[in-house]
């Protein structure tokens, strides 16, 4: 009987500990909540700004550095970064907004540029309109601020630069009789011709791409100032001359062997680091992947991307990149906006600090004039690549990604797989447009 009693007592104790232990977390968060409320009333009360972002070496590091800079001037403000993968941020955001539990959102979130329009248009009440917050939006690359602008209201503070670049192995180009200049300011036609020569003489394709991934196609589209959704956000696949040229170019790249298709992202990285291919074309963040093969130092060069042949075509584009948003539920909206304005939108010191160790490039144009950006990079043969990339970023054509950007990209991805496999262009694109329109409920 005693044993029975003892086991019952132990069981009750265990369950009690478990539940009280758990509720501790909510107590803590309610404390933070009350801090938040006080913080908005007076400027000296302690304020903790919570931030959701991903990548500890890149975004989280940048945010923590910005927090340190801001705390120096405002000792009462502390920044707490909660590392959260991008897909998870999207899941948590959607769950919180659709269930009406927006109090579970942090003060600031980082968002992929490709998802900006979708989230701002779908959940306009979830984010703060920063147009009149004092942030100097004109000091950012115009294409980046345009991505977070809906109905003339600016919702996002641009951060991570997604300006497109071509990284090429100069030693392999040399074996084929070329230099980096031969691949600068060229057209896709020239790129393919030269790529064929490189392949013939060295056996190395110039590029790799994940099969079925629309990234490179979208990069080409934006370089011409065109997109797969029109200004009203509707599917713009059929009769889109730029899309036709982009897909023809891609098919030609694959058929000529200048571009080799790989199965997934890991193989893509492997193809670059293992010298299966002689180059990479992507957002400038690909530099981090390229430089991870330290034994290839001095063998790489950076230049702009080839251009298409239509009227609006340029040698500049964007791929990836991200921006900061202030959540409307934040009790410290003003502090959060001021923090972003003073750091990411006003501190050259921040960008100078984060650049050397993280390679985090800004779209804040004054940062490009700082000394850190002019440092030659030994890995890239002593070239001042950061200056180059900042210049490229200022020339990227503006496009409107639209609400159904992800769906449109997926539809194009499915279409390109079919077209490479031999399906007729009109059939594959027609199916892709139908599929997208179905998803859009049209």
């Amino acid at each position: 009987m005693k044993r029975k009693l003892l086991s019952v007592i132990l069981m009750i104790a265990m369950v009690t500990c478990l539940f009280t232990g758990c509720s501790k977390g909510s107590d803590d968060s309610s404390k933070t909540g009350s801090n938040k409320a006080e913080g908005s009333k007076t400027s000296d009360d302690p304020v903790t700004l919570t931030v959701w972002c991903w990548d500890p070496q890149f975004n989280c590091y940048a945010m923590n550095t910005a927090g340190d800079i801001y705390t120096k001037a405002h000792p009462n403000v502390k920044v707490e970064v909660i590392e959260t993968a991008w897909d998870d941020i999207q899941t948590k955001l959607t769950t919180a907004v659709t269930s009406g539990q927006t109090n579970t959102l942090p003060d600031i979130i980082l968002m992929q540029d490709s998802a900006l329009a979708k989230n701002i248009i779908n959940y306009p009440d979830a984010f703060v309109d920063l147009t009149n917050s004092g942030i100097k939006f004109d000091q950012f690359a115009a294409f980046k601020t345009a991505l977070g602008t809906v109905d003339g209201k600016k919702y996002s503070v641009p951060f991570d630069n997604g300006a497109a670049i071509t990284c090429l192995r100069t030693d392999i180009l040399q074996q084929a009789g070329y230099t980096l200049d031969d691949f600068t300011n060229i057209t896709w036609k020239e790129f393919i011709e030269k790529g064929k020569v490189v392949l013939e003489k060295t056996g190395k394709p110039l590029l790799s791409n994940q099969a079925g991934s629309p990234d490179l196609l979208m990069l080409m589209m934006q370089s011409a100032g065109a997109w797969v959704l029109d200004e009203n956000g509707k599917a713009n696949f059929k009769d889109n001359a730029v899309l036709k040229e982009v897909i023809d170019t891609y098919v030609e790249l694959v058929k000529s062997g200048v571009l080799v298709e790989v199965n997934d992202w890991d193989q893509y990285v492997s193809s670059i680091n293992s010298t299966t291919v002689a180059g990479a074309m992507n957002g400038c963040w690909i530099v981090a992947t390229v430089t991870s093969a330290a034994d290839q130092s001095g063998l790489w060069g950076v230049t702009n991307v080839p251009k298409l042949s239509n009227a609006g075509a340029t040698n500049y584009s964007s791929q990836g990149g991200s921006s900061w948003l202030v959540c409307a539920n934040s009790k410290n909206k003003d502090v959060a906006a001021d923090f972003l304005g003073e750091t990411f939108g006003g501190s050259v010191e921040l960008y100078e600090t984060i650049l050397p160790s993280s390679g985090a490039l800004a779209t804040y144009l004054p940062a490009g004039e700082s000394a850190a950006y002019a440092n030659p990079q030994d890995f890239f043969g002593g070239d001042t690549i950061y200056l180059k990339i900042t210049e490229y970023a200022s020339k990227v054509p503006q496009v409107s990604y639209g609400v159904y950007n992800y769906e449109a990209r997926d539809a194009i991805g499915a279409a390109i797989t079919k077209i490479v496999a031999g399906t007729d262009y009109d059939t594959a694109i027609g199916e892709a447009q139908k599929e997208l329109e179905f998803q859009m409920g049209q």
């Binding site: 758990c22 991903w54 590392e83 993968a85 948590k92 981090a288």
Partner: protein, 270 residues
């Protein structure tokens, strides 16, 4: 060579190939955990010497200790409570008689067909209103009673000799004593199978802990691993080491209960 020997030779050759294919990803994971990221990317297939560096980096860049404790605490508590609730339910479904019980069981089994993602948002709204966000109770409540476990215990109870229950009742044993003293010891293999399945599901659960456990200190292992692959540069050596560490508890539990596991799934009472 006799016919039988030839038959065995081919059977073993086939089994060895299939075993190797099954084990290969696990082996590759362990090999990768000992190599640098660049070596993994370049396809190195032999054990390396970078495991200490990978471990140091894993500890420096993540809260792996906290995540392991969180995952273990969540999974262990959920397993204990879930087993108590579901075994009682399974036992009751079989031993006690009621004209509605088969209908209720069918309804329960139907609930297995509703994907969790469909009920997540209403659950989140409800839990938010009850202040259960960021609590272990909030994490556990939706999975304490699962149709699968109740079904597993009910099926096992089918072979449980009802005469023992009747004899015990005549002897004057209380219902709860019949359950704890007679049913539980006989059903050990079913409990072992249930522990393995519940612990593994709780350990690997991703979506619900992601939305309900928002606090920085509540991070679980699957979420930590998801963060490791979210960056522009992925350190594959560190990633594989984290994945290896994450699989250890489930492997240990499986091997400890392996003997009983198969019996439990096929039926505990012979």
């Amino acid at each position: 060579m006799t016919k039988a020997k030839i038959k065995y030779f081919f059977a073993y050759a086939f089994l060895i190939i299939v075993s190797f294919i099954s084990i290969f990803p696990l082996l590759w994971m362990l090999i990768s955990a000992t190599n640098t990221s660049l070596d993994v990317i370049r396809g190195k297939m032999s054990f390396g010497t970078a495991i200490v560096d990978n471990f140091k980096q894993l500890i420096q860049t993540t809260q792996i200790g906290q995540a392991l404790i969180n995952s273990f605490r969540n999974a262990a508590s959920l397993t204990i409570i879930s087993l108590i609730v579901c075994s009682l339910a399974g036992y009751a479904f079989e031993i006690y008689h009621d004209k509605w019980k088969d209908g209720v069981m069918k309804l329960l089994l139907l609930s297995m067909m509703v994907p969790f993602a469909a009920t997540m948002i209403p659950l989140f709204t409800w839990f938010g209103k009850m202040n259960l966000i960021n609590t272990t109770a909030g994490f556990m409540l939706p999975s304490i009673s699962t149709a699968f476990l109740i079904f597993l215990f009910r099926q096992s109870s089918r072979n449980f000799p009802y005469e023992i229950v009747e004899a015990a009742r005549i002897e004057g044993m209380s219902e709860i004593r019949i359950f704890t003293r007679i049913f539980v010891p006989i059903m050990k293999p079913t409990y072992a199978a249930a522990i393995t399945v519940t612990f593994m599901n709780a350990w690997n659960s991703y979506l619900w802990p992601l939305v309900i456990l928002q606090d920085k200190k509540s991070q679980t292992m699957p979420i930590l691993i998801s963060n490791l692959i979210s960056g522009y540069t992925i350190n594959y050596g560190v990633l594989m080491l984290a994945v290896s560490i994450s699989t250890l508890p489930t492997i240990i539990i499986f091997f400890l209960l392996q003997k009983n596991f198969a019996e439990g799934i096929t039926g505990a009472v012979k």
